[in-house]
Subunit: 312 residues, 2 copies
Amino acid sequence: MRIEEIRRVLVVGAGTMGRQISLLCAMHGYDAALYVRRPHMLDTTIGKVRALALEWMGEGRLTQSESSAALSRITTTSNPGEAAAEVDLLSESVAEDPRIKARVFAQFDRLCPPRTIFTTNTSTLVPSQYAKATGRPAQFCAFHFHQPVLVANVVDIMPHPGTSEETITLLHDFARRIGQIPVFIKKENKGYIFNAMFNAFLRVALILAASKVASVEDIDRAWMGVTKMPIGPFGMIDIVGVDLTYEIAKRQTKWVFFMPQARGILNFLKTYVDQGRLGIKTGKGFYTYPNPAFQQPGFLEGEPFLARGPSS
Amino acid sequence: MRIEEIRRVLVVGAGTMGRQISLLCAMHGYDAALYVRRPHMLDTTIGKVRALALEWMGEGRLTQSESSAALSRITTTSNPGEAAAEVDLLSESVAEDPRIKARVFAQFDRLCPPRTIFTTNTSTLVPSQYAKATGRPAQFCAFHFHQPVLVANVVDIMPHPGTSEETITLLHDFARRIGQIPVFIKKENKGYIFNAMFNAFLRVALILAASKVASVEDIDRAWMGVTKMPIGPFGMIDIVGVDLTYEIAKRQTKWVFFMPQARGILNFLKTYVDQGRLGIKTGKGFYTYPNPAFQQPGFLEGEPFLARGPSS
């Protein structure tokens, strides 16, 4: 298959990532089928995709007419056969469970044309864990987006040992056609690239706070003050969700049981989860929303700032 | 002592950090004595401080007259008694060796007035390792700057168990008077705050490259593409120096001997060091200078960027 022959994309899984990926493809001229397993979720999903288009318009990323054109290219369906018809590329964003993913790929292998490239948007599994179930391992590769897709516009292309060169090249070109920066992972690695670096950094931030070395605010101040980024690690966790961070930390703890600080991190996060302080979505996490403290003038300085020395 | 009574600062150690700290204090109105141990280095040091003032002027951080005023407030001397006279606050940036630091503090304890606050700019040691040698442990605290001081304007204030509350409060106010963001470290922690997070992130970047999971360029692309920072981990190592990163990694390896990737990181860095590819200072490291690839248009995309989809 040549890159020009990719015209229709099937997105399986209509969560946050799936909805963003279908709108992203549609805004770059692709026809997109968005498969929703449960028929009673169709209307909700259509509404959420429209809300996303409005959000992107509000951010100046789409004009009104581009938005209408993109939405007209998206078909939301819970009929798997209809979803799979004439599809050139499939992007899967279902639950992070290798058995569920294997089942979904096997199902769509029976329905999709033989030419269809299969990709998985997993961020914690590796494609060889369910390559066989796709029925077309040479046409199967991890193609991993970041959140939010228009801002953090990087995709990890991570083949398993059986992925063909042709598939890798096609995905590389496809990434660029949808405005994404492709980065290539030469060997399977569960942490991917950005996520591996980012998780290491977050883990240290959590250890420092959990072991009371410094306050949440001072840790964010240190990161923001040095890097000049507008947000620090705890502001970021409030976006991701304190509960999700807790779940991920619990999963990681299974294999880092030797790490003395792991228990401390879990206890620390649990106190927030138990109080319903889950981040932006509940209006309160490490900060209070809207207008969290770290976005207020003077946050970095901590108090009214005296820049004058003794003789000035 | 009240904050208004701090007027004269002694900076011990005239390396990159010491020179920056003395000019920073002087530009905020403080008299600064810069102590250079070896008399034959006096002229070189004075030249380097002047060059730094020119650099800051070039960056628009100082006007010509502010620069002249600041330079006139700095006394560079290799006479310890002269350096110590009437000093209110001492900032030490000598070699990262607790025995050398202890010797320097003991020497200046005999020369400085009893009121002088002593601070250490160490980034890898903790103040309790040489608090006793200062002769004034209650007036002694770590006060740790970041590089470059005007941009990464964060100081870690890390007391040892014997530091007085008064000293902590004074240093907090002093930090703000010299335009720095003070962050407070409640317990001694060798990694400090920003450095601890940053090192964890760098370590993962090095593991990914050393184990050939991804190329140096793709790792930087992933970081830059997601965070929108203008530089990634390998561009940063080129600034710090590949040789210094190698030395730090060697030192860390002593206690992380159980970590299977540590040997890989060392071998990886050594291939660059052996070729003299030490970073910006040798014109070549992970990138070639000036005009490294990661600052060129199109670096993120990797190749000429095709943003158009099939039907647009």
